[in-house]
């Protein structure tokens, strides 16, 4: 195959070579999407809705940063500000961060990576999207009717006895949304156990699957506890039965225990799928098997299990027993071990690898660095003494944004770029994508690094004003707001070129990177049941060879020569930049 052919000619050729019927054009009309049971279409539905909630959460973030530009509370009143940061938190945590990767990339890729035709329960999968939309609509309605001002944590007794905002409605939305999460996790666990293709043993699974399996564990065992907690909160708020009311013998700290039993592991729901994405990207774009595959696989499970044992580190200053605090502090340090195993193993994978600077890999580089900073500052917060100094300050805010935005959001973007050719059958514009990745990285650090300093100096979170007599504080806040503007613009760029690429992007070959996973051994975009013939796996995960020797397989079984050698090796892919 000559590399001189024009994109149009190549597109024609590929359209001719691959089955023209794929999951996107198999059926037309809005009904075919809203009633679909195809995991790939449901993934796309989720992608659209998750992006919508991300945009709302982002708008509230912009309002927060604008208010903090000046020391005085001149843009909005404290009560309005309370609502704004609450809405930002609720939208981002419950409706973006938790569902984002599992329901979009996970839905799309889990069956394909294990060689299945669909998830085990396609109807439940569609149901989970509807539950998500109902929950999202109810919470969004609560925000529109007048909002919630309790913070995303809904701490009692403020949320039960004092706040006169729409706590119950927002809580109901989150309660309902929880079942979407549970059903997704249930589907993944059953699918991974029962639907693997012949030869796809547990230790041949891509690490993306391991991390989603661990995530599903947390979803199933943690989410019901937040559901019952919110139910009790609503019961207390509506009937005032005294569950969390000290005047009637109740204990508000019990709420915090129950809340964080879910909400701390929920952090791992957010970041574990991101780690899975990064493992895939690092292996693909360094062309090496992941260093210490089984360590990385088991570290996902270890994070899921240990993640359940550390919730008390949110209660160090909440009148929790100091002895319980010591236990929780100690176990919190232990969680750092499996997280560090992953970081070291990614780094070791890159060592002497064939490093690429394609967009997904740029996000992976950023993830590893930013997640390390976020994780290390987590250890500061897990230390009993230091936490008292930085508790509820911007140090905490910076810490979890490094993990959530620097970790999860960047992994999500990296994953979207990596699998965009598979999802849409089109390439994104590489030049613009690299530019956007750079803008996002710079904007992110400028936004959140100053917040570490602010927090350490004593700037509390959830305050809409700060002392004008501290010039350094405003300087740092201005830097943070400026960074947030850059970050916002950076996030808009992919939004534009992704949509653009769906119509004008180059046609993507079956395996543009070229990678070893099963999802790349079927056409882009894949047919409705993913594989023409159920694949039989005879190779280990990440068996990378030099690109020239890489046998890239077209439609059908991996041994079928039908696809043959195709021109999509790296040299060809990167030479044509728009």
């Amino acid at each position: 195959m000559s590399t001189q052919t024009t994109p149009e000619a190549r597109a024609q050729e590929w359209r001719g070579r691959f089955p023209t019927v794929n999951y996107l054009n198999a059926d037309y009309g809005i009904k075919s999407w809203l009633l679909t049971k195809d995991h790939k279409r449901i993934g796309i539905l989720y992608l659209i809705s998750v992006t919508f909630f991300f945009a709302i959460g982002g708008a509230y973030a912009a309002a927060i940063r604008l208010e903090l530009l000046t020391p005085l509370g001149d843009l909005m009143q404290s009560h309005t500000y309370n609502k704004v940061f609450t809405h930002h938190g609720i939208m981002m945590v419950f409706f973006f961060l938790i569902p984002s990767i599992p329901t979009t990339l996970g839905n799309f890729l889990v069956p394909m990576m294990i060689g299945a035709k669909d998830l085990a329960f396609p109807r439940i999968n569609l149901l989970s999207w509807y539950i998500y939309m109902v929950g999202g609509a109810l919470t969004f309605a609560a925000l529109l009717f007048g909002g919630v001002d309790t913070g995303w944590t809904f701490y009692v007794p403020y949320s039960t006895n004092f706040s006169n905002t729409y706590v119950t409605l927002a809580g109901l939305g989150i309660f309902i949304n929880g079942f979407s999460s549970i059903l997704t996790g249930l589907n993944f666990i059953v699918t991974v156990h029962t639907m693997r293709a012949p030869g796809m043993t547990w230790f041949r699974l891509p690490l993306f699957i391991w991390s989603h399996y661990a995530t599903s564990l947390v979803m199933i065992l943690g989410t019901p506890v937040i559901a019952i907690t919110i139910l009790l909160l609503a019961l207390e708020r509506v009937a005032h039965v005294g569950i969390f009311d000290p005047a009637l013998g109740g204990d508000p700290v019990l709420f915090q225990h129950m809340f964080w039993f879910y909400s701390h592991p929920a952090v791992y729901i957010m970041v574990l799928p991101g780690m899975g994405v990064i493992s895939e990207i690092v292996a693909t774009h360094t062309r090496k098997p992941i260093f210490g595959y089984s360590f990385v696989a088991f570290s996902s499970l270890a994070i899921a299990v240990f993640g359940f044992l550390v919730w008390g580190h949110h209660l160090f200053v909440s009148s929790q027993s100091v002895y319980a605090g010591m236990i929780f502090s100690l176990i919190s340090f232990v969680v750092a071990i499996p997280s560090a195993v992953k970081v070291f193993n990614w780094t070791a994978t890159m060592y002497k690898g064939s490093l690429s600077y394609d967009t997904p890999m740029l996000y992976a580089y950023a993830f590893i660095g930013l997640f390390t900073i976020g994780g290390m500052t987590g250890l500061f917060l897990a230390a009993l003494g230091l936490d008292i100094h930085v508790h509820d300050t911007y140090f905490v805010v910076a810490h979890f944004h490094y993990v959530m935005v620097g970790g999860q959001v960047l992994a999500f973007l990296g994953g979207l770029h990596n699998w965009w050719p598979k999802m849409t059958g089109r390439m994104y514009p590489e030049g613009w994508a690299r530019f956007a990745a750079l803008v996002i990285f710079v904007g992110f650090n400028l936004t959140f690094f100053p917040q570490f300093l602010l927090g350490y100096m004593g700037m509390p979170r959830r305050y809409h004003a700060y002392p004008p007599g501290e010039p350094m504080w405003q300087v740092l806040h201005v830097m943070s707001t400026g960074g947030a503007s850059i970050l916002g613009i950076g996030l808009l760029i992919p939004g534009v070129y992704f949509i653009w690429s769906m119509r004008y992007g180059r046609f993507a070959p079956a395996n543009p990177w070229p990678a070893t996973g099963l999802e790349w051994r079927t056409p882009s975009p894949p047919p409705t049941e993913n594989f023409a013939v159920t694949p039989v796996v005879t190779w280990e995960a990440y068996e990378y060879r030099p690109v020239e020797e890489m046998e890239v397989v077209g439609p059908g079984a991996p041994d079928a020569p039908a696809g043959g050698q195709h021109p999509a090796n790296r040299g060809v892919e990167t030479e044509e930049q728009p």
């Binding site: 156990h193 039993f261 002895y323």
Partner: protein, 104 residues
Amino acid sequence: MSEHIVPRSTYYLVFGALIVLTAVTVAAANFDFGPMNDVVAMTIAVTKMMLVLLFFMHVRYSSRLIWVIVASMFFWLIILLLLTLTDYASRDWFGANVGGIMSR
């Protein structure tokens, strides 16, 4: 693996045992064993649960995977109960209480 069919007689035996254990737990509640009251009641309840799990729910004849799921749900429930209780149980130690409800 094909499905194991439990004979009807087993079900009737388990049912009888469950009814007897219910009677035993009611009878035991009328005696005061002091701090052992709850231990006795919970031991009987756990025995009844095991009978239902193993025979009515066929766990005894199920794959190891089902055993793992059953074990892990108890493991996580115990994490929830036990780790929360580390807080409540130790709030009063050495007069270290800083205002928890256990002090009242």
